[in-house]
């Protein structure tokens, strides 16, 4: 079901996304925290990152909804989950606390890792441990 082209599309998309994160300022934890600090001198820039991203992605996803196959020939996989449940809310709250503590979310952390930034190395290793823990705790029973 995976085509030969899919990894090349992914490589290019990852590269464009990483450059977008660098250009936008989102790869800089200090700027992320300045956005999250409503009571301090507030830097609203990151609201525009999200706005710009959604403005471009919206027509693409609207189009994607009417398709079942991607340009590569792979199945077009839009999420099917609809339920708003405790894992969604508690998981997202937990993520938000971690995001506020260090100013890294997963994408920017990986981009900073590519810059060999020391704090990003520590953060990404811990994030990997967290993700592995989830995989272990939720693994299908044999």
């Amino acid at each position: 079901m995976k085509t030969f082209v899919a990894p090349f599309v992914a490589l290019f998309a990852g590269l464009v996304l990483g450059i977008g994160l660098l250009l936008s300022g989102m790869a800089n934890p200090a700027k992320v925290i300045a956005f999250l600090d409503l009571a301090g001198p507030w830097d609203p820039s990151l609201a525009l990152v999200m706005g710009g991203a959604i403005a471009v992605a919206f027509p693409a996803f609207t189009w994607a909804k009417s398709r079942t196959v991607a340009w590569s020939g792979d199945r077009l996989q839009l999420p099917t989950a609809r339920q708003i449940d405790a894992p969604l809310v508690l998981g997202s709250l937990t993520f938000g606390v971690g995001w506020g503590l260090a100013g890294y979310c997963p994408g920017p952390a990986l981009v900073s890792l590519g810059m060999a930034s020391q704090p990003a190395i520590v953060f990404v290793v811990a994030m990997g441990v967290g993700m592995a823990a989830h995989a272990l705790l939720t693994r299908p029973k044999a």
Binding site: V9, G25, A27, L38, S45, G52, W99, G130
Partner: protein, 144 residues
């Protein structure tokens, strides 16, 4: 509210955001996948046959972004003031939280909102709310 006009970067943030949206558009239309970083990376911890190569390729693209940028221009400053203990705790919380919450800033905040998913809207409000509260506590109540 006191806006830090000197730090405000409307044009580069808007342009960077547009590139992020373009990457998400490319991945969904080009190869049929959601550009959610936590989902792409998290999937590597439960490898399925034929589903690993594109994930690794995407991560390589992200890691290579600063190298490619560096060929053309000076890299922007990235500044982290967090100590090692904070980084470890934050990393664990982000790793566990994004996997249980099934998405992060990119998967829920960009792709999910762009496809008008109520589930992603709830997730985005939850992590942004928690982020605002956490920074308020750390910066203004704990006096750090």
């Amino acid at each position: 509210m006191n806006i830090a006009w000197d730090a405000f970067t409307p044009w580069t943030s808007l342009a960077g955001g547009a590139l992020i949206g373009l990457a998400a558009a490319l991945l969904i239309l080009g190869s049929g996948r959601i550009a959610g970083i936590s989902g792409i990376v998290g999937g590597l911890f439960r490898p399925a046959s034929g589903d690993t190569g594109w994930r690794i390729a995407f991560v390589v693209g992200l890691l290579a972004a600063p190298l490619v940028w560096g060929l053309f221009a000076a890299l922007p400053a990235v500044q982290s003031d967090a100590g090692t203990a904070t980084l470890v705790i934050a990393g664990l919380l982000v790793g566990v939280g994004t996997r249980y919450g099934a998405g992060c800033t990119s998967g829920h905040g960009v792709c999910g909102l762009a496809r008008l998913s109520p589930r992603s809207l709830v997730a985005t409000l939850a992590f942004m709310g928690a982020g605002f509260v956490t920074v308020y506590i750390v910066r203004h109540l704990a006096g750090a």
